[in-house]
Symmetry: C2
Subunit: 333 residues, 2 copies
DNA sequence: TCATCTCTTTACAACGTTGTATCCAACGTT
DNA sequence: AACGTTGGATACAACGTTGTAAAGAGATGA
């Protein structure tokens, strides 16, 4: 029903291929022919058929973005920025949720070819670098977020350890002596937790503070509820902390909730710092001190890397680091 | 490079079409032939090529979801639920952001055919019902969110007016006499604002309270910053309100921020109610009374409607209403 | 035995593009 | 005058799939 090259060709009185040449900006087309064809295109409202184009050329113009969860504001913001960046290359972004489950992540990497994707942007939670390689079918991929070992694909991230150290150092700089950490995770694949914990420890050591294991509280996932529960545990300690570094803002907001409900003041009794700079933390009471990754730049770079990778697949994997900065707000006075 | 029907057929010693029949579950295939073909399929790891399939059948298995913004937690949660619901039909969801801009919304409705979409789920912010019809090229569409006039497409929503009235009635039931509203919008297309304002006024009238225009504060958009600014205006009044109904949770969280910073207590001095039941409101201090739409059901129904619409396009547009309920939390004592 | 019916399988032609090879005309070079 | 070069346009064959029509093999009924 929609018009095809054939219809345009008939109307303009040229061959199908000539129309195709005009559409694709082929150089050697006489100006008047080009004008005539363009007129016919406009008149019929011709739109190239992606399916056919892809069948022929192998490219679909669609990239996939696989994130643990859209509900988390950090990922939602990032997704929005990536969609914007992709738009500039007139790519369409197909967003997929893995819920951080290993099997879903595996399926995604292995079986994504079904949807004819030109490239994949992937923020793995459960899978380690090695597992990612084995599944890959050669689709260009850029990894997002934390990972240490040089993996099989390009990688964009901020320096998590340095950032976590910055936040912890800030707390120590306020004169706090018992600084807790919320968000530790045992799973070997939980790189985010490992790296931020390392940064926390590094800053403690620098400040000459003891590393009290009781002050490091694990979190099943990085949601508000986990932060709230972890804070309860900390308050139940014989010698509770006077500051908390939470591994992301949601944990911090949950911790904040517990503190305020228990009658503590923030930052009076306990100072709180988070990580991600999500919008919620700019409007909580008190507002939240946090680490702000340059998310816009992350999105840009990711798309750039993927574009290069789609162009030519030969080069070795690259690691790209993006800036971050500490934003101090009310929760640390 | 990946195997096609041709390769499977060669290996199994049958015709290409027979393999196609096996793949598509065609009935009249001899059991042993089917087994042999299936073996070859497994051995080669054959995956059907979507582009070719779509080129032939016209169906792509991809639906688009167009939302004003992913950054807003309500839309993010909804998007997640819709992706899940679509998965059960093994559809892929292509998420698009309109930023609530009229021209972007128009482009989307008009030019989405480019990406060969089987159907569209659309939550319009700027466009009215009539504009939506004209642009449509016949792609099945389900509208999400608020709209009054019977439009050109199926429509899933909650009863916004009733829900807003419920929230306002709750505030009145607490004995509050000066109940403000935050989130009014003048644009004729701003249906959400109009409907919720109507519900607010209805409940005021029921409770025998005067409708003081000074207590109705507009908001440019429905974000925390708008809520915070609106609350400042309310506090500057000679006779400030003792309760606020905010047209969504983000506005309410912004208002909360302003109240607490100004030294007011919530709900002591001012009670606050929101709308959407986003996760933030469950962990703010105080926690937020709100209207909870049955988002999971919205997602389910939307996908169901779209599926029927893709099946046969003849039937007249349907309106589907989804339940909501009032959740009372600390912000209203 | 022949015609008819059902089951199973197949050949062929599309779907809308684009890459390759080719062709024609006009031009400049030897 | 014969030749290569260049710009401009075209015919044809693919890409991998599925709908259509039809052919072959048995089985059923007259």
């Amino acid at each position: 029903m929609p018009p095809g090259l054939k219809d345009v060709a008939a109307l303009a009185g040229v061959s199908i291929k000539t129309v195709s040449n005009v559409v694709n900006g082929y150089l050697h087309v006489a100006p008047d022919t080009r004008a005539r064809v363009q007129g016919a295109i406009d008149q019929l409202g011709y739109k190239p058929n992606v399916a056919a184009r892809q069948l022929r050329s192998g490219r679909s113009g669609v990239i996939a973005l696989a994130l643990p969860e859209l509900q988390s504001p950090y990922f939602a913001e990032l997704a929005g920025l990536i969609v914007q960046a992709a738009e500039r290359r007139s790519w369409t972004v197909l967003i997929d949720q893995t819920d951080g489950q290993a099997d879903r992540e595996r399926n995604l990497v292995a079986g994504l070819r079904r949807h004819a994707i030109d490239g994949l942007i992937f923020s793995p939670l459960a899978l380690t670098g090695e597992e990612l390689t084995s599944g890959g079918d050669g689709t260009p991929m850029v990894l997002l977020g934390e990972r240490v070992s040089a993996g099989p694909a390009d990688h964009v991230a901020i320096d998590n350890t340095a950032a976590a150290a910055d936040a912890t150092r800030h707390l120590a700089g306020l004169g706090r002596r018992r600084i807790a950490a919320i968000g530790a995770q045992d799973r070997p694949s939980a790189m985010t937790a490992h790296l931020r914990l390392a940064g926390y420890r590094r800053a403690l050591a620098e400040a000459g503070l003891p590393d009290d294991p009781a002050l490091v509280v694990p979190a099943e996932s990085f949601h508000r509820a986990d932060g709230a529960a972890a804070m309860e545990r900390l308050l139940a300690l014989p010698d509770p902390p006077d500051a908390v570094f939470c591994f992301n803002d949601l944990l911090a907001l949950g911790a904040l909730r517990t503190l305020l409900r228990s009658g503590r003041t923030v930052p009076g009794d306990v100072a709180v710092a988070g990580f991600d700079d999500v919008e919620d933390g700019r409007f909580s009471t008190p507002t939240l001190t946090t680490i702000a990754p340059d998310a816009a730049r992350i999105a840009e770079l990711t798309i750039d890397l993927l574009a290069e990778r789609i162009g030519q697949t030969a080069e070795p994997p690259r690691e790209v680091w993006v800036q971050h900065r500490l934003i101090t707000r009310e929760s640390t006075g």
